[in-house]
């Protein structure tokens, strides 16, 4: 395997347990499967593909790993129409033009040509920047499924060999392999070739215990009994057939709302007046009200 022979600094973690501990120090509560998968990705030197519904902390995971390992986070946000010039590198045309004009007419073609295709005129985009760094780096490729399929082909070279070929300069090898996290909402299937090169982690809605811990960590000053009830209600909402299921971020928002309103217990009226924080579709609110046995809500 070529990738295992790439220069790699000393491992960042000793055990999955240490991953969990270090992540919790930066306020990311990782379950054991998350910790183990992050540990394996780091040890095997493979990119980590994180899939799951919106708002379960996929992007947060990358940020937390960066914070826990004292690494810089470089982020490539994917969108429809993302191209090489935005993802890899681009030549700084205007600067090259200036250089040609400044050189005057006596400069030879060969010399000018060599001069304008140098590092000075290269605009490094996230992928190239992440590869060229000497310090620990976490490369986050966010919402990979939003990018066009052609971009996946581009990622293959970067992610399996950690190198980028620039025709005028040659091949740039990674000085130090970055920890790569790709996230996807699964709005479309990523290609098999890309998936094969990654470790896969599916993040789902958290267990009640973990969600309770998250809310307590994120919303200081909230009462424990209220959190218990809140988490219970959200877990129930997630079992309903809704258009948009509440995410962790929305649970936290709900907790903040209840705290701000000074609510001490989750009763019918408290839920009815604040349901809009977690359910953003009228039909979802009506359905939830019916299933939870609230008299009438949302109207």
């Amino acid at each position: 395997m070529p990738e295992s022979e790439l220069p790699s600094a000393s491992p960042a973690f000793d055990s999955p347990g240490e991953v969990a501990k270090r992540l919790s120090e930066v306020n990311y509560l990782a379950e054991s499967d998350i910790a183990t998968t992050v540990f394996l990705a780091e040890r095997l030197g493979k990119p980590l593909l994180v899939e799951g519904p919106a708002g379960v902390g996929k992007t947060e995971l990358a940020k937390a790993v960066a914070a826990a390992t004292d690494a810089d986070l470089i982020r490539l946000q994917c969108y429809e129409g993302l191209d090489e010039a935005r993802a890899l590198y681009e030549w700084n045309y205007s600067k090259q033009l200036l250089r040609i004009q400044a050189a005057g007419s006596d400069a030879t073609w060969e010399k000018t040509h060599d001069d304008i295709f140098t590092d000075e005129f290269l605009l490094a985009r996230p992928l190239l920047r992440a590869i060229r760094r000497d310090d620990p780096t976490v490369l986050l490729i966010d919402e990979t499924d939003k990018a066009d399929i052609e971009i996946e082909g581009l990622l293959l070279e970067v992610l399996s060999d950690f190198q980028i070929t620039i025709p005028e300069l040659g091949t740039v090898q990674a000085a130090r392999r970055p920890f790569v996290v790709l996230t996807s909402n699964a709005t479309r299937e990523l290609s098999e070739a890309l998936k094969r090169r990654c470790l896969y982690l599916h993040l789902d809605y958290p267990t009640r215990e973990r969600e309770r811990d998250i809310v307590v960590a994120r919303v200081p000053g909230i009462e424990a009994t209220l959190v218990d009830q809140l988490v219970e209600v959200v877990a129930t909402l997630r079992t309903l057939e809704l258009k948009k299921v509440p995410s962790i971020a929305e649970t936290v928002d709900w907790a903040r709302t209840l705290l701000a309103l000074g609510t001490s217990t989750m009763d019918e009226s408290a839920i009815r007046s604040t349901l809009g924080v977690v359910l953003k579709h009228q039909s979802d609110q009506l359905r939830a009200a019916k299933e939870l046995g609230l008299p009438c809500a949302g109207r």
Partner: protein, 492 residues
């Protein structure tokens, strides 16, 4: 580690990967190597770490997760034999135990314990209890009557004369049944007692508690099922068990034969699926070439090249949105299929310029108003079924009359822009299929498709008029969510 052990472990690893491949997971050679390396990096005796290591390296699609878990449990069982851990310490009973009058004597104590564990939501305890329950009550057939107690014991005591004969039979016929264990414990009847023990809280808290207990009971039943599979695998070898008990991934499940739980899981998948399909459709549209020349923007762009129109500009193509007419067979035999078809069509309704839907059994009725009234499709389907004047159950589908009546009453629904979609099994109950009338409908529509939930091999058997209709319309086999999704994606 001695070399022999290492080889055995490697063989086990390879056999597990083979089983995954056989079950339909695409595990490449490189992924297998990754898995092997990953397993050396985690604590080998920690089963969950091992599971995570395999999941991270060979599992690349969440839809395959249940399948993967089942196979993993078979190849790397939690325990061997009885699998008993330490005795739990007993506590004062706090939970009222209901039901189970018919339960055998020794099942009573276990039911009380089960009620306690369900009340607390103690997953580890439930798992252990499940394995005890299968060991004591789940054994069926076979001759090793030594530990046959409870239900098995009662049965053989009643037929004492045959018992000796049974014991003489080969022990190879022994098997484990999750249903026998669940029949002895009847966990569902505990619900009432659990709720009463929880009394004193307000109504809203009660309704939440009811859901939580139901979910825990369902979880216990799943664990018992898994435990029985594990015991079977122990007797027969994991390989043989995998072939007989593993269910296909969710999107491959036959819609007609799906269980309630599977149907519920599929319904939850509808909106994510609709979103994926909409994305694919819009991507396809963008890739389709440019539209007509935009004269003004071409001239404007030509100024940059000194008035020579080097690059032409085009108007974006207008998205083509078909008008859809859906004819749904809602008779009981294919109702679940029709429901999914309707769910998906309406979850995707913004992809169509108009949708009209008709339900039929022995006659046809328009049901569009139920769907346009509210945007919650699941509710709409329920209201539709309530609102239908014809009998849903028992009544045989009369395709001939349905098409004739449709032609008489709703002829205006089909225009040259319409895509006609029929969802049904084409079982005409030996009455005249009115193929000529149907052919007329198909001719008037722009496109027409018939989705048949029966396997292609059964078309034409018995009262099926599928071959007759297939002559006039493109009939497509559509048995699973995946096939349904593929069809909707390519629908123009």
């Amino acid at each position: 580690m001695p070399d022999a052990d290492r080889t055995a472990l490697l063989d086990h690893h390879i056999a597990f990967l083979d089983a995954l491949r056989e079950a339909g997971l695409p595990v490449s050679l490189a992924e297998g190597l990754d898995a092997a390396r990953a397993t050396t990096m985690v604590e080998p005796l920690d089963r969950e770490s091992l599971r995570t290591a395999y999941a991270a390296t060979v599992l690349k699609r969440q839809g395959h997760r249940p399948l993967f878990d089942e196979l993993f449990d078979l190849w790397f069982p939690r325990a061997i034999g009885e699998g008993r851990g330490d005795e739990r310490q007993r506590q004062e009973p706090r939970v009222e135990v209901t039901g189970g009058r018919a339960a055998p004597e020794d099942a009573r104590a276990m039911r009380a314990e089960l009620a306690e564990l369900l009340f607390e939501g103690d997953d580890a305890g439930l798992r252990q209890l499940a394995s005890e329950a299968v060991a004591r009550f789940g054994e069926i057939g076979g001759g090793s009557a030594g530990n046959a107690s409870g239900r098995g014991g009662a049965a053989s005591a009643g037929t004492g004369g045959t018992r000796g004969k049974a014991a003489g039979a080969s022990t190879g016929a022994r098997s484990w049944s999750p249903n026998a264990a669940l029949d002895a414990l009847t966990p569902r009847t505990l619900l009432a007692g659990l709720l009463r023990s929880d009394a004193g809280r307000d109504e809203f808290a009660q309704s939440l508690a009811r859901r939580a207990y139901r979910e825990r009971i369902a979880r216990f039943e799943r664990v018992v099922n898994a435990e029985a599979r594990r015991r079977i695998a122990e007797d027969r070898g994991a390989d043989a068990t995998a072939k007989s008990v593993v269910r296909p991934p969710l999107d491959q499940i036959d819609l007609i034969g799906a269980s309630q739980a599977e149907l519920a899981a599929l319904r939850r998948e509808i909106y994510p699926l609709a979103r994926r399909l909409a994305t694919k459709k819009s991507m396809k549209r963008k890739r389709g070439g440019a539209g007509v020349l935009d004269f003004r923007r071409t001239i404007r762009a030509s100024l940059a090249t000194g008035g020579v129109p080097v690059n032409t500009r085009h108007r974006p193509r207008r998205p083509h949105k078909p008008e859809l007419v859906v004819l749904c067979d809602v008779s009981s035999s294919v109702a679940s299929f029709a429901r999914f078809g309707l769910l998906l069509v309406y979850a995707l309704s913004e992809q169509f310029s108009a949708v009209r839907s008709f339900a039929f059994v022995d006659t046809v009725e328009e049901v569009t108003p139920h769907f346009t009234a509210a945007d919650d499709v699941a509710d709409a389907i329920y209201r539709m079924e309530q609102g239908l004047s014809m009998r849903l159950m028992g009544g045989g589908t009369n395709y001939g009359r349905v098409f004739t009546r449709f032609d008489e009453h709703y002829a205006d629904a089909i225009t040259p822009k319409t895509t006609l979609l029929v969802l049904g099994d084409a079982r005409a109950n030996y009455v005249d299929p009115a193929a000529a009338t149907f052919a007329g409908l198909v001719r008037r529509a722009k496109h027409a498709y018939w989705l048949n939930p029966e396997p292609r091999g059964n078309w034409g058997s018995g009262d099926s008029a599928a071959p007759t209709y297939a002559e006039v319309v493109e009939m497509i086999e559509c048995r699973s969510m995946a096939q349904l999704a593929d069809f909707v994606r390519d629908l123009e």
